[in-house]
Symmetry: C2
Subunit: 352 residues, 2 copies
């Protein structure tokens, strides 16, 4: 599948997303693979067997969102300089979203930019992070606050890498699939309610449709000036949850799952979604073993953390809400009292 990305200022870059067995990859340049110990132990041999390059190095970074920092990127950059990669060299991101985001960001920085390829090994990165060119790292102020829009040269999705993925991480990936369905495609959501994702053929179809829907959005708005913000459904809440739990308690997709439930509560108060549709989303999340609840200790504190989120231009919070299932609503003028009312539903100790 060809994904055309309309770059700001009228350019278009196209890259190929294959959803199939990893093909043979030939390069007449130096190549550096960036991966983590977990993926490396399970699949590095498989990858290296497929690569033919002028010179090949492997750079291993620690596994986990807490290492998605500028320090780790600097370490990768240092390795590239030590291995004397040049401007024609290519980076390969081989791992999940953390590896992909950091590798893409490193590629954007090295000598002002070299090419990179995404070979995502988690469901979350296959359906979300690997397509669209968002790269970056977290810092003490929040998630993904430093980075670049930088498109890969290609994305290779091979679902056999998912065979070794822990069930919990697989589920976290499903959260992003559900997100896309709720925002953009009612039929796709209906299909998901019945789909058996342990069937590889079904899974490949589900991934293909998800990538297609996402690419269609990125395509219209690479730099998130408008519609791309819709992909942040569940994320405005989810980022605060991740921040409060120091990126340790929840996987990103899990925080997004809770975030979607929170966004739905807000949407329900505003009359945008029925109780019945809210329950359908909840049930689909539960079916995939995703968390749907979170205890907010301090509602006022939680609320204030929205304001660091980079989507909040000029001190207004932009909420991405469902409008039924398959449509979205963007609101940046919701009264604080209404938001607090929604948050309060997650703060009562006796609630559960």
């Amino acid at each position: 599948m060809i994904v055309p990305i309309h770059l700001e200022n009228s350019g278009v870059v196209e890259y190929d997303v294959t959803i199939d067995k990893l093909p043979k990859l030939h390069f007449d340049t130096k190549v550096a693979v960036v991966t983590n110990p977990t993926v490396s132990a399970l699949h590095l041999d498989t990858l290296l067997n497929q690569i033919d390059a002028k010179e090949l190095s492997v750079i291993t970074v620690p596994d986990g969102e807490e290492y998605k920092t500028l320090d780790t990127v600097v370490n990768i950059l240092d390795e590239l300089f030590i291995n004397k990669l040049d401007r024609k060299s290519i980076l390969i991101a081989f791992g999940g979203g953390v590896v992909g985001d950091m590798t893409g960001f490193t590629a954007s920085l090295y000598q002002r930019g070299i090419q990179f390829i995404q070979i995502p090994t988690t469901l979350l990165s296959q359906v979300d992070a690997s397509v669209g060119g968002k790269t970056g790292v977290n810092n003490k102020f929040g998630k993904n606050l430093i980075g670049a829009f930088y498109q890969p040269k290609g994305v290779y999705i091979d679902t056999t890498f998912l065979d070794t993925l822990p069930q919990r991480e697989f589920s976290a990936g499903v959260a992003e699939i559900i997100k896309i369905a709720v925002m953009f495609d009612n039929e796709y959501f209906n299909y998901l309610e019945k789909a058996d994702l342990s069937d590889k053929k079904v899974l490949n179809e589900v991934i293909a449709r998800c990538v297609e829907l996402k690419a269609n959005v990125v395509n219209q708005d690479e730099k998130e000036a408008g519609i791309r913000a819709v992909l942040n459904y569940g994320h405005t809440f989810g980022h605060v949850i991740e921040n409060e739990t120091k990126y340790k308690k929840y996987l990103h997709g899990e925080a997004v799952a809770i975030g979607m439930v929170m966004a739905n509560v807000l949407a329900n108060i505003l009359g945008l979604i029925t109780q019945n549709d809210m329950n359908r989303v909840k049930n689909l999340l539960i079916k995939h073993n995703l968390p749907i609840d979170y205890h907010i200790n301090n509602v006022e504190e939680f609320y204030n953390k929205f304001f660091l989120d980079k989507k909040s231009a000029n001190d207004k919070i932009k909420f991405i809400l469902p409008h039924g299932i398959g449509n979205f609503n963007i609101s940046n003028n919701i009264d604080k009292s209404i938001i607090i009312k929604a948050l309060n539903q997650f703060s009562r100790i006796d609630k559960k």
Copy 2:
């Protein structure tokens, strides 16, 4: 003057370069000015009088090439987060090339990119660094090795800021002007031989022509896949000189001046430039108090340092040489023995 920059993948971004008194600047967003103590003490009041913004902060970074590091950029980023700049906020680079390169780079990184404006206060940054979108920092491996191609929203050149510029820094700026003339425009070079740059009217004309010639190059090749490399005349040698002297002995323009003399010696050996034209370049450099000599301690070591330079794809060194005055030659297949022969002319202790 409108500078159109053809972005890779077919986009075009246009920005306005004014060469005139600094106009009144109105912003309906948050603005952060990045400057250094020297420029701040001399001209910050003048600048602030011209700016009208929703919220204005001033970030001061240490003065000097040795502070053009990722650490300084991280400090600027931290200030932006503390001041809660959002995606619509604007950075203003107010200073020389170091401030401009770091501010542009910071703008590219902050929340994956916000807009920035260049208000260059040195001749070098007015004629060179502020136009073309090269941003970045140095690291332990060399100069400008980490960065981004990131175009400013506008460039305001006001030569009254040069009234307080030390003569030595003014001369360093003239080196880049001479570079452009030698590479692209014989008539411009002839004009420079007679021009009195202490005359503001002449100076404005000289700057305008220089910016025009540079923009014309960037315009054809934003990311230095081809002709933009010509702007590195004198830089391949100059970077090694700066590296060997730890960025302390020479200003960038001074290292480039010596680098041009070295490139000319190599070009002369290859029959590309006559002794007479070499002398004309030397004399113009001398007229502007620029250094034309350097003692190479270890020719082999000097040679090896070329290979870290990012313009050297696949272990070949690309030399930008003059072909007479007003034309260039790009060579990436020069025998090591010939390069060594040229370098040897700068290594003999008894030479001076």
